[in-house]
């Protein structure tokens, strides 16, 4: 599926990144590049550190007191762990969608408008309305909710909630979107919708998606990274990884020998 000969523009680069929770090393010496218009999938058995690594990419791990990150992660060439990087702005540029849909217990409108508000992206109410509509449209949710924007976001179905969360992330116009098992709490139909959405958003945002589901990785991503016990075992084009893995461990995992 990935287009073979498009020149790629590097969006994020991680070099020799290690993460420890206290004395427990969760990620060990991982280097990865994320391109401007690709979807990267992280796969690997439970506890191998996929989420941990994903969360280092927008410094969400800062909220875990015991987490220590070493190595270098750059966004557009700028070190995101340097002291003069403003975490708040970083997170606006690198958005995140979580495993469990987590809309705010506010109206649908307010959910989407929250980001633009705190970042002062919209001057007038009309601006804000425009941003909200655009984001909901991009997230493929506009038609379903346009008549009930003032309903609570938590009243939506699971799949809708997850799309609302994507719309919310889109609303601050991020450059990268990180998704941590966005479909694992959803039923197959909702899953399909999200996958479709990822397809549509590709090119506009660089995306990194963690998934337990290998078929999903195969369906949505151009590159796949396979983690095991905190190390990056293999990283390459998705088609290669699934049909012709270089490493024995990758192959064993993909064919279901362990996991």
């Amino acid at each position: 599926m990935p287009k073979p000969f498009k020149p790629s523009i590097l969006k994020m680069t991680a070099r020799n990144v290690s993460v420890a929770y206290g004395s427990k090393i969760a990620i060990n010496d991982v280097s990865i590049d994320v391109d401007q218009d690709e979807v990267v999938a992280f796969i690997g058995p439970s506890g191998c550190g996929k989420s941990t690594f994903l969360r280092t990419l927008n410094r969400m791990n800062d909220t875990v007191a015991s987490a220590r990150v070493t190595g270098e992660i750059k966004l557009d060439g700028q070190d995101i762990y340097s002291p003069d990087m403003d975490v708040v702005q970083l997170r606006a540029r690198v958005g995140m969608v979580f495993q469990k849909p987590n809309p705010f217990p506010k109206s649908i409108y307010e959910n989407v408008a929250y980001g633009p508000r705190i970042h002062g992206l919209a001057g007038a109410k009309a601006d804000l309305d425009r941003i909200v509509e655009k984001s909901l449209r991009r997230a493929g949710l506009w038609d379903e909710v346009k008549d009930r924007l003032s309903d609570s976001g938590t009243a939506l179905s699971g799949g809708q909630q997850q799309r609302l969360c994507i719309a919310r992330a889109i609303a601050v116009d991020p450059e990268v979107i990180l998704m941590d098992e966005p479909c694992s709490a959803l039923d197959p139909i909702a899953t399909a919708k999200i996958e479709e959405l990822i397809h549509e958003l590709r090119g506009r945002y660089a995306m990194v998606i963690v998934t337990h589901n290998m078929q999903q990785a195969a369906r949505v991503s151009q590159k796949t990274a396979f983690f095991h016990l905190g190390t990056l075992v293999e990283y390459g084009n998705t088609s290669d990884i699934f049909t012709n893995p270089r490493e024995e461990r990758t192959k064993d995992y993909i064919t279901g020998r362990y996991g």
Partner: protein, 432 residues
């Protein structure tokens, strides 16, 4: 969805083993079942009994208080003819307006006139029949209508405490005899004792009121609330959301958890030694009471606040952080609003406890007799529960019903506060 991606299970073709199921119908099994059910019923009944007995005790307590206290809201009055014209009080009607009125009437010997009228109406011991506050009734009537000074009027004045108690069927033999006599002559009436709700403490059971103590409670609670609520909420936020894991934080946490369970009387000792002793703050003042109770209530609010904050799912914080909200924004935009009902519930419960608290206030002198309601935070005052304690210790029998009546008033407020807290909790018991 290719099957190759999923581990395959070897299919066993072995013939399944048949088995003999347990026989549930045997005599032994059946009687065992019956025994188990019987014990189930006993257990359940024990639970039910525990609940009902607890509730019954509460009911008994409340009913006792209401039965004893209801009569505290009623006063017995006697008709007293007073010939004000004949008394020729030296008062110019012009002085009967404004601030000077009380002074003028007090100085004019009205009290003596009323005593005289009593002796005239009821004989030598007539003054003993009247409440110390009887003349005040006459005074107020004159203030309302100065023309009374020109005639003879029959006033309904409150009777003295022994007579009042006797009229309510609980008095000494002498008093009951007098009551019987007065009743026969139709001079006794009963009425709502408005003074009980509007006046302050007094030495005469018929004149006492809870307004002074109530106002003291109110002022104390204001101080408590203004201090404990913000400090409590802010510390709860700090501890739950920002505090780094270190020794200081542990120390704060241990302090708060322990303060929440420190006996209230210890806070009284603290107030006595620190606020009164070291800082030299005024004795008996609502501000000191409020401070002491605030220290006591603050940990309750912190703990309730922390629980409420903890109940806000972390996913909400992640969501806000994930789109670039700063930690302060996360807390003030999302966490605090969602935790607020829980915090309020905790606050109300903490305040209710403070309102009913007695022991620490005894230590800091809020047990004084003050015949007027306090007008400021530094004015000496007492509070409702202490007033109850003081009255319960009074010699005069008339105070028994007043004590219970004050308890009723206090309970009404506490139950209302608890009710609001429970309502809030039920209303906002959201699980995300």
């Amino acid at each position: 969805m290719s099957d190759t991606l999923v581990p395959q299970i070897p299919v066993t073709n072995a013939e399944p083993v048949r088995r003999v199921p347990t026989d549930w119908t045997t005599q032994a099994m059946q009687s065992r079942i019956r025994r188990r059910y019987a014990s189930e019923r006993r257990f359940r009944f024990a639970g039910l009994a525990a609940v009902w007995l607890s509730a019954a005790f509460l009911a008994y307590l409340l009913i006792t208080m209401v039965m004893q206290g209801a009569s505290g809201f009623v006063e017995t009055r006697v008709s007293l003819p007073v010939d004000l014209a004949a008394a020729k009080l030296p008062i110019e009607p012009a002085r009967l307006v404004g601030r000077g009125a009380d002074l003028a009437l007090a100085g004019a010997g009205l009290e003596g006139t009323v005593d005289l009228a009593a002796t005239k109406a009821f004989g030598k011991d007539g003054t003993d029949l009247l409440s110390d506050g009887a003349w005040a009734v006459v005074r107020d009537a004159i203030k309302a209508d100065p023309s009374l000074l020109q005639r003879r009027t029959v006033f309904e004045v409150p009777v003295s405490s022994p007579i009042d108690v006797a009229a309510k069927g609980n008095g000494t033999r002498d008093a009951e005899a007098i009551v019987a006599r007065l009743k026969a002559s139709g001079a006794l009436t009963r009425g709502f004792n408005a003074g009980f709700l509007t006046s302050a403490d007094s030495t005469d059971a018929t004149r006492v009121g809870i307004w002074g103590a109530f106002k003291g409670s109110l002022l104390t609670m204001i101080v408590t609330l203004l201090l404990a609520f913000p400090i409590g909420v802010l510390s709860a936020l700090y501890l739950e959301e920002y505090a780094p894991k270190n020794r200081w934080t542990d120390l704060i946490e241990v302090s708060i958890n322990n303060l929440a369970a420190v006996p209230s009387i210890i806070f009284g000792l603290l107030g006595l030694a620190v606020f009164l002793g070291t800082f030299g703050m005024p004795r008996s003042a609502p501000i000191v009471g409020g401070l002491t109770l605030a220290l006591m209530t603050m940990p309750v609010i912190v703990i309730a606040g922390r629980n409420a904050i903890k109940a806000v799912p972390p996913s909400i914080r992640d969501a806000a952080l994930g789109i670039g909200a700063s930690p302060v924004q996360v807390v003030f935009h999302h966490v605090l609003p969602l935790a607020l009902p829980g915090i309020l519930t905790g606050t109300i419960i903490g305040m209710a406890r403070a309102l009913g608290e007695t022991a620490p206030l005894l230590m800091i002198g809020m047990r004084a007799f003050i015949a007027a309601p306090p007008s400021g935070l530094a004015d000496p005052a007492t509070v409702l529960p202490v007033q109850i304690f003081l009255w319960s210790d009074q010699v005069s029998r008339g105070f028994v019903e007043k004590t219970s009546a004050a308890i009723i008033v206090l309970l009404v407020f506490l139950l209302a506060m608890n009710g609001v807290a429970i309502y809030l909790r039920n209303r906002f018991e959201t699980r995300w």
